[in-house]
Structure formats: C-alpha cells, structure tokens
Amino acid sequence: MKSFDYVRASGIADAQDTAGRIIAGGTNLIDLMKHQIETPPKLVDVTRLEMTEIEQSAHSLRIGALVTNSDLAAHDTVRRDYPVLSRALLAGASGQLRNKATTGGNLLQRTRCPYFYDTTQPCNKRAPGSGCPAKEGINRILAVLGTSPNCIATHPSDMAVAMRALDARVEIESPNRGTEMLTLDEMYVLPGDDPSKETVLEAGDLITAVHLPQPPKGKQTYRKVRDRSSYAFALVSVAGIVDVEDGKITEAALAFGGLAPRPWRDGAVEDVLVGEAPSDALFDKAADVLLQDAQGFGENDFKIPLARRTLKAVLAELTGVTQ
C-alpha cells in the first residue's frame, strides 16, 4: 500500500477537495488501494458529515449518501413502498459488508472484472491503452450489452439496478458545477474509448444523497441469478416494477444488472409492454427488444438466454401470468 494523507471532513467544503479521494465505508476503495489499483495521495473521510438520514417528503424519499446498505434495506418506508430496493440491497454482498457499505459508495464501486484486479495484467480500465485481456479470456461474469471494443466490464451493484428502475436521482455537490441532480443514466457513462472514466463526476464532486420519486404503482420485485446462494455478484439480475389494470399493462419499469457497464434500462423494452395484455408471447417480444444488440464473448454467451428466461419469469410473477 502506498502511503497517503488522511483528513476527516467536517463540512461539505472539506469534502470537495479536488486533490483528495473520498472514502466512506471503504469496502471497495481499501481493497483497491491494497492492490495498488488505486493510489490516492490523500483520503478524505466523509463519514462524520450529516448525510446519514432518510427523509420523507410529500414527493420523494431522500436517502443520505452515508446511509448504510443494511439500514436502507431495513427502513420501514423502503420495505413498504420500494421493496425492489430493499430486496436488491439484501441480495448484495454479505451482512458484514452491508453494515459498512454506504449508499454513495455503492453507486461508485468499481467493476469486479478479474483482470482489473491484477496489476500484472493489462487492462484498459486500470491502465488506459494497455488492452483488454478479458475479451478473449475469462469473461464469464462480464457484459453483453453496452460494451465497447476497449472494455466489457459490468457494473457490479445490485442497489443501483433497483434505483435505476425507480427513476432515482443522485444529488451531487460539485465545487465547479454546484448542486446537480442526475439520473443514473446521466451519471454513469459507457466505456467507449476511455473505460477508465465511469461517471461524469469530477475530482471533488461529492454525492450527498439519492432521491426516489413517489412510490410507483404496481408490483415490484428484484431477482438475482448467481453462482452461489449468497455473497456472489449477479450473473443476471432484473429489477421489475409493473402495474396491470383491467388486464393490460399500464406501467412498466425494468432495469438489469450483470449485463452491462452500468445498470441497464431500455425504454423500448417497456414500450413493448405498456398497453398490452400480459402473455408469454409478449414477454418474449420484450426480451427480443432487450437483447437484440446483445453480444457475448464466448464464456458469457449464456447470459443472453439467461437474461431472457429471468426477464420472462419476473414479468410473469409481476403480472400473474402463469408460464
């Protein structure tokens, strides 16, 4: 581990330190520092800031950036009105990690691509321009949507997938741009030419909260397919919110984990569903749209049919159609 400076932020201004790196729960950043994948010269500890509250207003739920994954999952309002989020959180990591992991940190955790984690290996994300050994290597857990020739890593978060389905907005305090509210699609960028850049955030930008709009209508669920029953990242996950009235789907929000470099949401999939009567054939059509541009890289080809099966099962569960 490289030596580094440590400061404890006592106000938002301290945290907006362009020379520093924010540390919250540390469950991802410290691992990365031990392996010298990240070598920040200075850590800014934000854990004493007042960002630990969950506040409910008429129109939204404001989740402080320091709310732990455990607390958020157990929060009464979240369990009642946003069960997709509660389930997603509980499907992630382990009890010990969730006690430490924060809302802001979870959003910005980095990929679990194994080549990214080993500094003896090339990796465009860690060492831009060095190449991507995963594409023709061991890529079983990597992405089939939204990839670029330079990187096929997935975003590992479960929480963010549920938040994407819930139309969450991230509140950011930027030293340059002031206060911003970004959707997850606005915050995360696809790998393109520079996979080392994962979000639009700049040095010194502080995530202060995540806002959830009013609870959506309909049923919600989160389904995660993984290699063991707990403590494994998603092969495929689906966050689904679907409302059915008078035999027709009136609203649908679907987001996917394990498939792409960011929590994946594709409005065209929802368009297929809305206004139609739920049926197995309709679900297949939705899956066709979701996966039309999907590209596997050998070992991860299976994710494409697995995503179809999982999506269909989620839709069947939420609409009450028996498959």
Binding site: P114, Y115, Y117, Q121, G137, I138, R228, S229, F302, A313
Partner: protein
C-alpha cells in the same frame, strides 16, 4: 522405554475392555475456547524482538527468466533487502522430505515466487514489492491449457482382461467424458512463517501439517542439517493438503532472517496462496462401464488427463477407489499427465477420490438409469468378494450396510422417476453415491507420561489442523489410563517432540492415536506389575487401579511420573488385507426451472470407518466433507487464463466455496465397526471419506430432479438451464 508395534497381525480390542467410557463419545475440542477467544496463536501472530516483515514477489510473466533491480527500491522508506537466494518454485508435495524445485532465475508460471522483499513494516514491504523493478526475458513457448497439449504422454497403467470386448458383450454400457476444474484448498489461515536464527540453529513458526517431513524440506531447501531446524505449529487454521509440504514463505523468511541477522515474518496473501501453493489439477475423465442384463459389471474403465509442472512427484490418483470399489473382470485405467505452465498440482483434500468418485459414481447413476435398476440395488450387486485386481481379502467393509441403512434413514423410498417431482418453480430430486477412501497407517511416535497425582501428558510432533487431534489423543490416553480427559494435557506441533505421522491422508487419528495407545499400554503394564496382577486383569478407572484382589489409587502405586514412548509402524496386515473406509452419501436438491440454480436441501452421510474415536469431531469431519461435496458439485473452480495460465479468480470473492445458505440440513450416521487390520485401535481415516462421492450424490440428485446430467463440473446455472425446457 519404547512400546513398539509393527502391525503384522490383527490386534485384540483392548479399547472395548477399558472401562473409563471417555472414548467413542462426543467430546468438544479442548482448544476450542482458546481459538474462539483468540488465545490460540497462529503462525502469523507470533512476534519476535526486532522482527522485520517480508512480502513475496510474484512473477508477472508465464515463462522465461528474470533479474530483480534492487537499486530501484533501495531508497524507499523502511527498505531492508530483496532476497532471491534459494527461492523455491512452489510448496513441497506431501511426504516429500526434500526441497521443492529451486529454479534460479527461471520462471515456469505466472505468480511463481521470485523474491522476498523485507522492510520494517508490512505496508512498506508491500509497497516496495509493488514498485520493485524486475527485468524479464519472456519465452514464447508456454503451454497453459489442456487444448494446447499436442502430445499427451502415454499411460503405463496395465489393463486387466479386455474392456473393449466386455463393452461389446454387455447388455448395458456407459461411455462418458467428465471434466473437473482445478480446486484450491482455501484453508482459512493463509500460510505464514516467522524465522529466527540463533547461530546455526533455525526456529520457525509455520503453518504446516507434517512437521517431521517439513523439517527435512526446510533443511534441504536451505542446505543445512535438519538437526538445526526446529519447527513449531501448535495451532493450524485448516490445511486440506495445502500445508502437507513446506511452503515458499518458510524459505523466504529463513533466507532473509539469516541475511539480515534479525527475525523475519512472511505471510502469504490470499492471492499468493492461489498461486504458490499446490492446487488440485483439472481433470478430464473417460468412464466406461459394461454390465450384463442384471446390472452386474463385466468391466470398467477410467482414463484421466491432468497436468503439473515438471519434476513434481505427484499426480492426482483419480482412479484410486475405482480399483477396489466394484467388481468386473475386465478393467482399464489410463493416466496422462501433461506439463503445463500453471501453478503446481498437488494434494487437496481426498486427492483422487474427490474428483475420481464424481465421475465413477455419476457413471454408475447413468448405468442405473439405463438398466432400470435402482441405484442402491445396482451398487449392492457389484460389491466384489475379493479385491477384483489383486485377489486380496478386504478388512472390515460396511458398504452394503451404509447404503441400505442410509437409504432407510434418508427416505430413499420416496424418490421418484427423474423429472417428475416439482414444487412451484423448483424441480426436486434425490441422489446417492458410494464413498470409499483407502486407509493408511503411518509410522508415528508419542510420549505418554502418567503422574502420581492422576494427571497425564501426551507429547508428539503431530499437528491439529482443526480436526480434533488434541481431543482424541487426550481421550485415548484417558481411556487407557482410567482418567477424566480433563486431566490429560496434550502437547503438539513441535519437532522437539517425538516424530509423528503428521496430518494428511486421513491417517493422523489412527496413526498418532495408536502411538498414544501403545505408550499408555506400556504404562498399564508397569502399573499391573506394581499392583501385582496380570495386565489382562488390570482395571483403571477414575484414578484407581484394580486387579487381582487389589485396589489402589494411582498415587499409592507411583512415587514418580512414568513416561513411556509408543511407536507404531505399518506391517503385514497392510499386505494381507485391503483396507478402506466406506460409506454412502444421499442428497436432495432443488433445481430452479427458470435459472438452473441448484439448492441442496439436505444431505445424509452413512459412514463406516472402524472405531469412531469421538463422535463430535468425526461428525464435524463428515460435515466438512459434505460441504466440500457441495462445493465441488456446484461452485468451486479455479479459472486459468488459457493464454497465460494466470489464476484469474485468485481470491475468495471469486473462488466460490459454499456459503451457509448453500448448505442445507446435514445428517451424519456412523455404522458401528472395528477394523482389526487397520491398527491396534481399530480406527480408520474419516476426514477424506466424508468427501469421497459427496459431490456425485448432489449431481445425481440434479439428474433425478430435472433430467440434466452434469458432465462438466461445477454445475453452475449456465451448465443446467440451457438443457431445461
């Protein structure tokens, strides 16, 4: 005095006559409270005055040569030195007793230890290791994957009869290819060494399973006399084969400590453990079974392909149990070991059976399905009378009892036809597999001391790697000497104590246990003399000796401690009998109809391993075996990059051992047995028996649940769902 026994003849059941009643009962491990309160120090937890810290440097290329540029780091804070001298390529193989390959400047796999960096603190050493400039010259002829092997070496295993003919004569045949991925032992405690020199004498705290051999390996690697090496490993946090042989941290710490003139501690990182320590080879296995119309085997074949580094004296004995488990005249084996540029292969719990029994017992399940014979009945019909290849008689062998009594306890009669039981989204099925594991007795010594105050001391260099050695050795001494086990102190894990068998091959309990038994037996003889009775008439209970017409407390018979050494050696019974532990594994699984995810609902193991010395520790061993079975069946796989051999998932986040939720209800039952040929205590090994066949019961249950046959392990969802409707 030494009480010596060469196991040339079957022995009387003395332990059934002693009356203390503290053996063959459940007893918690006496060191348990120390471990859970942090008072049982592991190797990395020792501190020495003036200690420095070393970190291993791993090769960043697959094949070639290297030179370290020490000047690149000499000015860094805390720097003490970079050492490459005597570096070993990988851990030693079990019972090797000599140095592992020392390669000079050559690299044969990515991750090979190439230097140890030493600094004042761990953080500094780690930083220096990351920055250290290493000049590599790469060779371009590395071969890292089975598919890249152009010439598989021939096998020299002899055939018996004509399997091809048997296959064409048979009513039912199976001819299947199975593959298994490499496995890591994944012991909780990573390997660690603290080396201290006093002149020519080296004292090393290590994390090791077999101290007698390890001492020779350390000495040979360093080029010094073994008499000058003392190893200490009183507590070891799991081994599973990974600590049979001395590991590179021992040499790194010793070389650096000598050069710096101060103690040096080296702890392997988890990533290092995945590369520098032996792992279980990947295998390909071709299984052939030929059976007549009644399911009786006319022949069987098991051919395997695997890999290692050059000059490693170990190949995975894939067909170990296949030789003796089932009958059939015509038999064929083949073993092909390719040289690959990947980390060394070696012993991981139940070498051979752990993967060989997956394929054999899956093939038996295929045969049952084809012939329409119940899988248990099929196995019963194929239990041979004598060893089908050597004609030697078997010692105690309760395979049939394990299968039938296990089936009853498990509710096997509720098993349905494949693919017919469904609960909501889940297919439900049951599977069975036999278990077998060759029994081995090893030479072992122990000192037993009885004190006039009714306490006793057992001393041997045996290790307890979490298995319960402290418990059972204390129980054996207590039973023999008529004491409460609380009054017996057991000292282990120090090469200054009498040399034992070490922990490995499931032989520890019976071997070290027999040496304690013999030492205590000699003490009994002395007490009988003093009491004036025949030793056969002596009864020792609760600190009181009775015999003839006398009854005296120990204190009256003794004015000084009595110490006797027990010394057991294998002998003729090893030739006269084929000895093995047997059993049956049962599993009930649920397979998700959408995703192919598998959940093991419950497992039952019926085990026969001679005298069970402690039902609690034995049950724990079998639980561990069942859980390993779940891991091998469903989750565990090392992924090597086919281009570089690199262990891609070199940590416990991505190398998936089962978590709690993967493990359903586990039940263990023991078939009461004494194996007269095995040892004077009639016990056999159990630690690896619990794993043998366990994974096959799970995959056979998957087939029964949903009709999908697993040929490529592990059965992750992607290997199941494509075959579901």
């Amino acid at each position: 005095m030494t009480e010596h026994l060469k196991m040339d003849q079957v022995q009387p059941h003395l332990l059934d006559e002693t009356g203390q009643g503290v053996l063959s009962v459940p007893m918690p491990r006496p060191e348990g409270p120390l471990k859970v309160t942090g008072r049982a120090p592991y190797a990395a937890e020792y501190k020495a005055e003036g200690m420095a810290t070393g970190v291993m440097v791993r090769a960043a290329i697959t094949k070639g040569t290297y030179a370290v540029d020490t000047a690149s780091v000499e000015d860094m804070p805390g720097y003490l030195g970079v050492f490459t001298d005597k570096m070993v390529r990988n851990a030693a193989q079990g019972t090797m007793g000599t140095n592992p390959a020392q390669m000079g400047d050559k690299i044969l796999y990515l991750g090979q230890p190439i230097a140890v960096v030493v600094a004042e603190t761990f953080e500094q050493a780690r930083d220096i290791a990351a920055v250290l400039k290493v000049d590599y010259t790469e060779d371009d002829d590395a071969v890292c994957d089975f598919d890249g092997v152009s010439d598989w070496p021939d096998s020299d295993k002899p055939d018996q009869g004509d399997l091809d003919q048997a296959m064409s004569d048979a009513t039912f045949t199976v001819d299947s290819m199975y593959t298994t991925k490499p496995h890591n032992s994944a012991a909780m405690e990573p390997h660690a060494a603290l080396a201290e020199w006093d002149g020519d004498k080296l004292t090393l705290h290590g994390s090791l399973q077999m101290l007698g051999y390890n001492r020779d390996e350390v000495a040979d690697s360093l080029g010094i006399d073994a008499k000058n090496v003392r190893l200490l490993a009183p507590y070891v946090g799991g081994g599973f084969g990974s600590k049979l042989g001395m590991s590179p941290d021992c040499v790194g710490a010793a070389v650096a400590a000598k050069a710096l003139g101060r103690p040096v501690r080296v702890v392997l990182s988890r990533n290092n453990v995945f590369e520098m320590i032996v792992l279980r080879t990947a295998t390909r296995q071709r299984l052939r079974l030929a059976a007549d119309k009644d399911g009786k085997l006319l022949g069987l074949g098991q051919e395997n392909w695997q890999s290692n580094l050059p000059d490693e004296p170990m190949a995975e004995p894939v067909d170990l149990a296949t030789h003796f488990l089932y009958g059939g005249e015509n038999r064929r084996y083949g073993q092909h070991v390719a040289i690959l540029n990947r980390p060394a292969s070696g012993s991981v719990r139940a070498p051979g059976e752990a993967v060989g029994m997956l394929a054999l017992e899956n093939a038996m399940d295929e045969l049952a399905e084809k012939s329409g014979i119940d899988p248990i009945e099929l196995r019963l019909r194929n239990i041979p009378e004598k060893h089908p290849e050597t004609g030697v008689q078997y010692s105690a062998r309760s395979l049939a009892e394990a299968l039938t009594e296990g089936a009853k306890a498990f509710g096997w009669d509720k098993r349905q036809k494949a693919g017919t039981r469904r609960e909501g989204e889940w297919y439900i099925g049951m599977g069975v597999a036999s278990a077998a594991r060759t029994n081995i007795l090893m030479e072992s010594r122990a000192n037993v001391t009885l004190n006039p105050d009714g306490t006793a001391l057992v001393q041997t260099d045996m290790t307890d790697i979490g298995t319960g050695t402290y418990a059972i050795l204390g129980q054996i001494a207590a039973e023999m000497l008529g004491l409460d086990p609380q009054k017996v102190t057991v000292e282990l894990g120090d090469t200054d104590l009498p040399k034992s068998s070490g922990s490995g091959g499931s032989w520890g309990a019976a071997s070290a246990g027999s040496s304690v038994f013999l030492g205590a037996k000699a003490i009994r003889r002395k007490l009988a003399e003093r009491l004036g009775c025949d030793v056969e008439a002596l009864r020792l209970q609760d600190g009181v000796a009775t015999g003839g017409n006398n009854r005296r407390p120990l204190a009256e018979l003794m004015d000084a401690p009595i110490t006797e050494e027990g010394h057991i050696e294998p002998g003729q019974t090893d030739e006269d009998f084929h000895q093995a532990g047997y059993g049956a594994h049962f599993a009930e699984v649920a397979v998700n109809a959408v995703t192919g995810e598998v959940r093991v609902r419950r497992m039952l193991a019926a085990m026969a391993a001679g005298r069970i010395l402690n039902h609690q520790t034995a049950t724990s061993q079998v639980w561990g075996g069942q859980i390993w079975g779940i891991g091998t069946a469903l989750t565990e796989a090392i992924e090597h990059d086919p281009r570089t051999g690199h262990v891609v998932n070199n940590d416990l986040a991505e190398y998936h051992v089962p978590v709690n939720l993967d493990v359903g209800d586990l039940e263990v039952m023991f078939i009461d047995e004494r194996d007269d040929a095995s040892s004077p205590i009639q016990a056999k090994g159990i630690g690896e028996l619990g794993l043998s066949g366990a994974g096959a019961a799970v995959t056979n249950a998957i087939y029964n649940a949903c009709g999908v046959r697993v040929y490529d392990y592990p059965a992750t969802p992607d290997r199941i769902f494509p075959h579901l409707p």
